[in-house]
Structure formats: structure tokens, C-alpha cells
């Protein structure tokens, strides 16, 4: 399935397999979940939220440095 992923200024369409959670997605793009807030279709969601076909996922980097 395809989703649209926004990380900062970067926007891309990516292909991922079914039944992935936000946490799985963060692992795929190698971003620590402790340092971000994630929005799915414009609403903040928790790590265990399921990602579905056609979703718009925005990863907002909120913690820098240590």
C-alpha cells in the first residue's frame, strides 16, 4: 500500500506493507519515536496507531540534541 510521508520540508510517497504501526514506520525511516510527534491525516496519534492505505503521515521533529 502507498502512503504520503512528510518529514520536515520533505514530502514523499512511499510503499509499505499492510498492518504497520506508526512505530514500525518510524523504525523503517530510522527516527527515534522519543524525538518526534506524529500526525496521521492531521491528527496527533500514538505509536501503536495503524497506518492505512492512502494515509498522510507527518513526522514532526520536536527534540534535538541530547
Amino acid at each position: 500500500m502507498k502512503i504520503k510521508l512528510i518529514i520536515g520540508e520533505k514530502e514523499e510517497l512511499i510503499e509499505i506493507s499492510e498492518n504497520k504501526t506508526v512505530k514500525n514506520l518510524l523504525d523503517i525511516v530510522d527516527i527515534a519515536s522519543e524525538t518526534v510527534v506524529v500526525k496521521k491525516n492531521d491528527c496527533i496519534v500514538i505509536d501503536e496507531e495503524l497506518v492505512e492505505d492512502g494515509d498522510l503521515i507527518e513526522i514532526i521533529q520536536v527534540i534535538y540534541g541530547g
Binding site: 522519543e34 500514538i46 514532526i60 520536536v62 541530547g66
Partner: protein
């Protein structure tokens, strides 16, 4: 099934690792505001009629604190002025200043920008490029911290502020405790706390209303409230021992989600003893050079300048 513990809303935005509590957006915002207001009351951080100088960098912590303190200003409990320090960090600070100004303007809070350059004749970038590490330069944050405290104290007196509020969060405080402990810096440990104790009426009392809020929850708060925030890292941040300690504690917190709270609680229990045994209640005089309060002949800021002169 996940739903908000308070109202049952199925759209939760947080599941707290430390307590298991699940909250929707509105309940999270409300409960975080209440927690901060409760801490302000519990620790006696503010009194009716206080004029509060808020250090507003434009980062998430200070923008959240502005949001909450403004609610007290609106109820005529306190008077509020926001002060942004321009350390002179090229490519980083400019955007923070703009964002700070926009936030203050939106809420109708008085705002001042004060620069290292205007008080000390040089920017932090100048200081760092003039002194290299080999010649005994400390890391940027040491200078930055000393000069920033000097300016806040001076501006607070000029403005007649009765409190200086900063956005230090739970992660920051835990880092300070562990860092000073690891360095054996017991003197510094005796000064860590939610509210500074005045040793001189020339020092304005400093308060940290967000001291018990984890950094991650502050980030979530500002995103949930759709506040305009400067989400960028200072280029000098990674230089510091603090950053190393910070990563270590964050790593530990993944498996042990309550360690920051327990570090803080444990420390607060020990602090009276530490203070009694180790606090050097030096007689506070004033710096010969600049007139700011200090226990020595020269204040820390002036000591740095003196060292550079004699180089």
C-alpha cells in the same frame, strides 16, 4: 481498546509510559495546564501582583510557559514581560527571535530583545571563535549560561520584575542533577531547585514552573495547541557534557520510564541536607566592575572578560 481515561474519546494522543494514563487532545492540554498551575501553587512560585520576567527563546518550553503564564496575566494575577536574549548565534538564533516576537505579539505581552553584543560588545560566536579549546576555552554553553544569567538579572532589575521564570523541564533538571553529581560538583547541586533562594535582594528570584513536565510532553503540548515554535537545535548544544548525560538518561528512560521522576524526587529529598552541609553562604557583595551581586570580587561574567584581557 484505547480511549481517553477522562472523557472516553477514542482519539488519544498520549499513552503515558510512566503511569499508563491515556488522554485525548483536549484532556491532555487541560491536564497539563492544571499540573503546571498546581505546581505554581504548591511550591509558592507566584504571588498575586508579581511582575514576571519570562525568558522567551521561542523554543517549545518557553512558548508553552508563555501560554500558561498568560492565562494568569489575563486573570490579572500577575504582570508579564517576555525577554528574548540574542546571544549572537548565526544561522540559529534569528528565527527563534522572530518566533518569540510573534508569540508575544499574538497574546499582547510586552516583549524585549536584548543582545550579548549590546551588553558585552561581542556575540557568542565572537567569543567562541576568539578562544579555542586548546587554550582552555570552556564549552559554549558555559559562557552562554553565565552571560545569560547576568543579562536576565540586570534586565529584571531595570524592569522592576519580582520573578524570573524559565522553561526548564524535567529532562533539563534531571540532566543538571546527574551531571553535577557525576562531576562531583556539590556546590552547584545545592543551587538546583524549583525556586531560587535569594541571597541578595539584588538577585531576582528564579522559578521553573515546568520542572516536573517531561520534555516530550511539552513538545506534544505545543503541537496539540498549535503554537508557533522554533523547533531547531543550537549548533553548540552537542559540545556539552550535558548533551552526553541527556542521551544517557533518555536511553535509560526507554526501559525505565519513571527514572527522571525518581531522580528528581530523590534529589529534592536530599537537598536540604546538601544545603546544610555544603552550601557556602558567602556574604554577597557586588562586583567591582559591573555592580552585579557576587560572592567574590568580580562576578563570573567579569572574570571571563578579565581573563581574555590578560591573554
Amino acid at each position: 481498546m484505547n480511549s481517553c481515561d477522562k472523557c472516553g474519546n477514542p482519539n488519544i494522543i498520549i499513552k503515558k509510559k510512566q503511569s499508563g494514563q491515556k488522554l485525548c487532545k483536549d484532556c491532555f492540554i487541560k491536564s497539563t495546564q492544571n499540573k503546571v498551575l498546581k505546581d505554581i501553587h504548591k511550591y509558592g512560585l507566584l504571588e498575586k501582583g508579581d511582575k514576571v520576567l519570562l525568558g522567551l527563546s521561542g523554543g517549545k518550553d518557553s512558548v508553552m510557559l508563555l501560554d500558561i503564564l498568560n492565562s494568569l496575566k489575563k486573570r490579572n494575577i500577575i504582570d508579564l514581560i517576555a525577554v528574548t536574549i540574542d546571544e549572537g548565534i548565526c544561522g540559529y538564533r534569528e528565527e527563534g527571535i522572530e518566533i518569540a516576537a510573534r508569540n508575544a505579539k499574538k497574546l499582547g505581552v510586552e516583549h524585549r530583545v536584548v543582545a550579548f553584543k549590546e551588553y558585552f560588545g561581542m556575540t557568542l560566536d565572537d567569543i567562541i571563535s576568539k578562544n579555542n579549546v586548546k587554550e582552555g576555552r570552556r564549552n559554549a554553553c558555559t559562557y552562554c549560561g553565565v552571560f545569560r544569567r547576568w543579562i536576565f538579572n540586570r534586565v529584571a532589575r531595570d524592569e522592576g520584575a519580582t520573578k524570573i521564570a524559565t522553561g526548564h523541564n524535567l529532562d533539563d533538571e534531571t540532566q543538571s542533577i546527574v551531571m553535577n553529581y557525576l562531576e562531583g560538583n556539590i556546590q552547584n547541586l545545592t543551587r538546583i531547585g524549583v525556586k531560587s533562594e535569594t541571597r541578595s535582594n539584588k538577585f531576582t528570584v528564579k522559578i521553573k514552573p515546568l520542572r516536573e513536565i517531561p520534555e516530550k510532553e511539552i513538545a506534544l503540548y505545543v503541537v496539540a495547541r498549535e503554537l508557533d515554535v522554533h523547533f531547531a537545535g543550537c549548533p553548540y548544544a552537542s559540545e556539552s557534557f550535558r548533551a552526553e548525560v541527556g542521551s544517557f538518561i533518555k536511553e535509560m528512560s526507554k526501559e525505565h520510564p519513571t527514572i527522571m521522576y525518581s531522580t528528581l524526587r530523590g534529589f529534592d529529598k536530599m537537598k536540604p541536607v546538601l544545603k546544610k552541609e555544603f552550601s557556602q553562604e558567602s556574604i554577597v557583595g557586588v562586583c567591582e566592575n559591573c555592580g552585579e551581586p557576587t560572592g567574590a570580587r568580580l562576578c563570573k561574567a567579569c572574570t571571563f572578560f578579565k581573563d581574555w584581557e590578560t591573554d
